[in-house]
């Protein structure tokens, strides 16, 4: 039963991994979301300043004496100062004519009031470029002034790097917290399973009652199935026992009837050969009923031995009760049953099985003892717990001692007489189930001895 089942991984690990994986993805998403948002905000900030700057430059444009003048306010560039000393580039055009600034700076085509923001390459650097225009109306003509203003993004990158670092720190913190939480949550969840497992493990082999303790709702289906399985098991175990009992009944009742007929007939028949036939018939009936009984008993014992029920019992009282019960049989044959024992022997085992085993041994002894003989029964715990049953008969046939032993060692009873052999087999099986053994011997002054050690 302790065979290692193949596992499909650990539920706890699976939970932890899933939760931590989820936390990691969440942390990453958080990181990128924050960074993306921060980028937008920072870019917006830069754009705002660039826009204000370019507007102030345009505002300073005027036509004086037919000539365009652009009196760039000192503040226009001053406001572009950044922590990282970003470089600035600008160009002023009148219509398509370059007026001043950096002639290589590319302009976007603009019209109207709108400012156009672009990220472009200038002198190998990515710069944020704003282009805006203003139409001046002179005496004779309308002219368009276009101003392009660009700024490098060192400060922006610095800010972004800082924000990224903070976002990463925040994400990592979030992740660490989530990981801890997920480990805790998984342990708690798996703890519920462990508790259920423990309560299943702690149960005795006969305890098939349903689990009543409250469990989390997710585990309810499992526990319900388990309870249903146990109910079915209990039912089927009960059915097995019922079946064996029923089978015994079915076999024995007609036998009892036939036997009664035979016996009644025997009372009325005087002719010796008829009597002999009837006697044989009764004997055959007894033999087969006993065999059937023992076969069924054997089935029952095998069934019980498979899930042995340990129970503290007093072995002396148990055997004594049996002896008392068998006393009428012994008396009937004018046999003496002698019972010797320690005061009390506490033993843990299945009382039904032990009693059955001992009963079979005493039955055998009663059967093979000559009239007015003695059967000695000894129950003692020294040197080990055992029950010894000795009769005053002829003993086991010495050449069969070993055969008998090997025969029931195999647990088979394919040959020879049905009755006694199976009784010994039952005793042997019971002894084995309790970690003991059955030894057969012949006494020095005759008589057979069976030693059931437990």
């Amino acid at each position: 039963m302790t065979r290692n089942l193949p596992t499909s991984g650990s539920l706890r690990n699976h939970l932890v991994l899933t939760l931590i994986g989820g936390a990691a993805i969440l942390a990453l998403l958080l990181f990128f979301a924050i960074r993306n948002y921060a980028t937008q905000v920072a870019q917006q900030g830069q754009d705002n300043i660039l826009g204000a700057s370019v507007t102030s430059i345009l505002d300073a444009a005027s036509i004086r004496d037919g000539t365009i003048e652009v009196d760039i306010p000192y503040a226009s560039f001053s406001m572009l100062s950044t922590q990282s000393d970003d470089r600035i580039f600008y160009a002023i055009y009148q219509d398509e004519t370059f007026l001043s600034g950096y002639p290589k700076l590319s302009l976007a085509t603009v019209s109207g009031q709108e400012s156009i923001f672009q990220s472009v390459k200038h002198r190998g650097k990515t710069v944020r470029l704003v282009t805006a225009s203003r139409t001046l109306i002179g005496i004779e003509k309308r002219t368009q002034i276009r101003v392009a203003l660009a700024q490098t993004q060192d400060a922006l990158s610095g800010t972004l790097a800082q924000i990224s670092r903070n976002a990463a720190l925040f994400g990592t913190g979030f992740f660490a917290l989530a990981a801890l939480l997920s480990i805790w949550a998984s342990s708690t969840t798996v703890g519920q399973l462990k508790r259920l497992t423990n309560s299943v493990t702690r149960r005795g082999p006969q305890d098939l009652s349903p689990f009543e303790k409250p469990v989390p709702s997710e585990m309810l289906p499992l526990v319900t199935s388990l309870n249903s399985l146990m109910q079915r098991l209990d039912h089927s175990l009960g059915q097995s026992e019922d079946f064996i009992a029923e089978a015994a009944h079915r076999v024995r009742t007609p036998l009892a009837t036939v036997r009664s007929y035979a016996e009644a007939t025997l009372q009325r028949v005087d002719k010796e050969e008829n009597r002999q036939a009837l006697r044989s018939m009764v004997r055959a009936i007894d033999e087969s009923s006993r065999a059937a009984g023992q076969l069924l008993d054997h089935a029952m014992i095998t069934f019980r031995a498979d899930h042995l029920e340990h129970q503290n019992l007093d072995l002396v009282a148990l055997v004594n009760e049996l002896v008392v019960r068998l006393m009428p049989i012994a008396e009937m044959k004018d046999l003496e049953l002698r019972f010797h024992s320690d005061a009390q022997i506490t033993y843990s085992g299945d009382p039904v099985l032990i009693q059955n085993a001992v009963r079979n041994l005493i039955d055998n002894a009663l059967k093979y003892s000559p009239s007015e003989g003695t059967v000695n029964i000894l129950v003692t715990a020294a040197p080990n717990v055992h029950v010894r049953v000795c009769d005053s008969g002829n003993g086991f046939p010495s050449e069969e001692l070993n055969t008998l032993a090997t025969r029931f060692k195999r647990g088979k009873n394919a040959e020879g007489t049905i009755g006694s052999g199976l009784g010994l087999t039952i005793a042997m099986d019971v002894a084995r189930a309790h970690g003991g053994n059955l030894q057969l011997s012949n006494g020095t002054e005759g008589g057979a001895c069976a030693l059931l050690s437990l």
Binding site: E241, I244, A245, E246, A248, H249, V251, R252, T253, L255, A256, T257, V258, R259, S260, Y261, E263, A264, L266, Q267, D270, E272, R275, R279, V282, R283, I285, D286, S289, G293, L296, D297, M300, I301, R325, M327, P328, I329, E331, M332, K333, D334, V352, Q355, N356, K367, S371, E372
Partner: protein
């Protein structure tokens, strides 16, 4: 002794009844629990023989009710089920003993005797005849005040003869009563027990007469 037999199998019931009557007992037979309850309520019994599987219910429930109403009449259960389990059930429910079907009548008789002996004192069954005081339950007999204990087979032989004085019992009949079917005994074995009984009755007014070719008979020595 007055027995109540609760058994639904008519043939088996008849066989048990006739055998019990032979031993001088009075037998009432109930084929179902309903009848049995009626019998118990009206009459008083020394022993109840109870089958478990009955057409109108489980014998064990009858036993349970029986014990619950403080009737202490001893009960022997007749069961055809597995010995292993019924033993526990029956004895726990308050049965005094049980016999597994099919049973040897001698065994049933022995168990009845044992149970009755354990519950002795309730009814006196001592037989006094011809200077012999015979207590079949205790297995004692006394001849002119001299007491002795009989062995089981001696007891049963005497019980049979003393219950039917003057009746001739063939060797076979006596054999059938004394030995089990698996006891492989010759019919002459009965002579040993007849011999022993004669010895026990030596000083009494009872004697066992041998009728050659017919059997034995208990006579008052007048």
């Amino acid at each position: 002794m007055k027995y109540l037999l609760i058994e639904d199998n008519q043939e088996l019931a008849d066989a048990i009844s006739s055998r019990m009557r032979l031993d001088g007992h009075v037998i009432d037979h109930a084929a179902k629990l309903e009848d049995a309850t009626a019998f118990v309520e009206t009459g008083e019994y020394d022993l109840i023989l109870l089958d478990i599987m009955l057409p109108d219910g489980d014998g064990r429930s009858f036993l349970k009710e029986h014990r619950a109403s403080h009737l202490d009449t001893p009960v022997i259960i007749l069961t055809a089920r597995s010995q292993v389990l019924d033993r526990i059930d029956s004895l726990d429910l308050g049965a005094d003993d049980y016999v597994t079907k099919p049973f040897d009548h001698a065994e049933l008789e022995a168990r009845c005797r044992a149970v009755l002996r354990r519950n002795a004192g309730k009814s006196q069954t001592v037989i006094v005849t011809g200077g012999v005081v015979f207590d079949p339950l205790a297995g004692h007999m006394a001849v002119h005040g001299q007491s002795l204990t009989l062995r089981n087979r001696e007891l049963r032989l005497l019980e049979l003869l003393i219950n039917s004085p003057g009746q001739v019992f063939s060797k076979q009949k006596l054999s059938d009563r004394l030995f089990s079917y698996d006891d492989d005994v010759s019919e002459n074995a009965i002579e040993v027990y007849i011999g022993r009984l004669r010895k026990h009755l030596e000083n009494s007014d009872l004697k066992i007469t041998t009728l050659r070719g017919l059997g034995y008979r208990l006579d008052h020595d007048t």
